[in-house]
Symmetry: C2
DNA sequence: TTACCAACATTCATGAATGTATGTAAACCC
DNA sequence: GGGTTTACATACATTCATGAATGTTGGTAA
């Protein structure tokens, strides 16, 4: 029996870990507090000491993880840069894919939040996050249009939808396929082709190298800004 | 109080309709049999007369609707044709988008099945359907490669994943955005561009008309086969 | 060493959902 | 037109998750 202060934190984390796995495997509603507590090696009494109820547990679970959508948001949120917005979006997205691919905790949380879709608990969180990302992507595309970077065949709305479909679709398909393909590998290829098609100049997609268009200016800057934005949002 | 035989069928359908709306709005687990029965204008007694339990209700709900994945599967299932496999897939997919866009029942069912992801009830159904579609898409791409239609930059696996991401991603994004864009309109544009990029000859995507590549031979045939396949799977 | 508090465990009350058993009125059949 | 079956409604038993109340023990400060 642990009574020291640091052991309390350890218990709390054990509960969070057990909840993450339980919610991911059997769904939020179907996972009982009893199952979570037992899996964490404690009783429900310990659970109610650390959390008020199931909803607060879910919130705490979400608070300790940065979802890929939030990561992208953090990376491209501030509109100060004069850099290529399409490249900024592409760079932030691909980096998010890379980190997602090796972070099982984030993968579980993404699954949990996806399942919460219609449930009354996570509907607002889910749709708020989704709406923010959608709006931001659209503003990015509007800026690309203003700067003459967007191909005339596509409206900003269309371009934003296509990019959104690609990113979220990739994450979902990767998980559904049981990680049946290299996420960052395929993702980078798909995203670069996609962005190249959206570009006014065609992005030079005709060069068959497979690595996509050569680096335009501003990529390094975008990567730097991404890192800063991510670090700012990470829990301490 | 209805006691005639045809009224029984009417009651059963009322329960199915209520369940479809309830499951879609509040999720499968959170929707109670009492709520469904009340919404259908009957009591739980009537429910248990028509269905053994909640799981059988879900199965009946699924049985009366053709999901877009199943529609595509039905359209391209038989490998007899010598027609362009890429065009066949594109045609079947776009037709599925068109029908999905105007069929609210199918939209609800898609939402329900998506939410069922981790739940123990629908996991097998969901993953079986998904696996079939994935496998078929991959065989399509393999055939395209064999016929020299697939661009050398893409492996059949990559091409299959990209197409899968596009279709399923589109449906999901459309629903999440609360139908914030014309599904078939945007979808046709995106799918045609996507398929054009995958083509060995580039698909003529450079012609900026916006309607995508001109019709290759075999399109009409593909459409005809699609209709036949769909009709065969529809409940009678 | 004593008193107190944090960190749990245990027990209990409540409500909610499910499933089953029984009641019943209308329809159907001979 | 009387019995039988159909198509429900009603009532009840059971299970189960939640949350609150209470009990217990180890650490910690005075």
């Amino acid at each position: 029996m642990r009574r020291r202060k640091d052991d309390s934190e350890q218990t709390r984390n054990a509960i969070l870990d057990a909840a993450e796995i339980g919610f991911c495997d059997r769904g939020y509603a179907a996972t009982t507090l009893e199952m979570i507590s037992r899996a964490a090696g404690v009783t429900r009494g310990a659970f109610y000491w650390h959390f008020r109820d199931k909803a607060e547990l879910l919130a705490a679970l979400h608070a300790r993880i940065l979802l890929p959508q939030e990561q992208i948001l953090a990376a491209i949120a501030d509109p100060d840069g004069e850099q290529d917005p399409l490249e900024l979006l592409s760079c932030a997205g691909i980096e998010a894919l890379r980190q997602f691919e090796v972070d099982e905790s984030r993968q579980r949380m993404f699954r949990i939040m996806s399942d919460l879709g219609t449930g009354p608990e996570g509907r607002e969180v889910q749709s708020r996050l989704d709406g923010e990302l959608r709006g931001l992507t659209r503003r990015i595309m509007q800026r690309a249009r203003d700067q003459g970077l967007l191909h005339r065949d596509f409206t900003p709305h269309e371009a934003a939808v296509f990019v959104q479909v690609t990113f979220i679709g990739l994450l979902g398909e990767w998980l559904r396929s049981d990680k049946g393909f290299p996420l960052a590998g395929f993702g980078e290829k798909l995203v670069r082709r996609q962005l190249a098609v959206l570009r006014a100049d065609g992005g030079g997609w005709a060069d068959a190298g497979g690595a996509g268009p050569r680096d335009p200016p501003g990529r390094g800057q975008a990567a730097a800004q991404f890192s800063a934005g991510t670090a700012a949002l990470l829990p301490d």
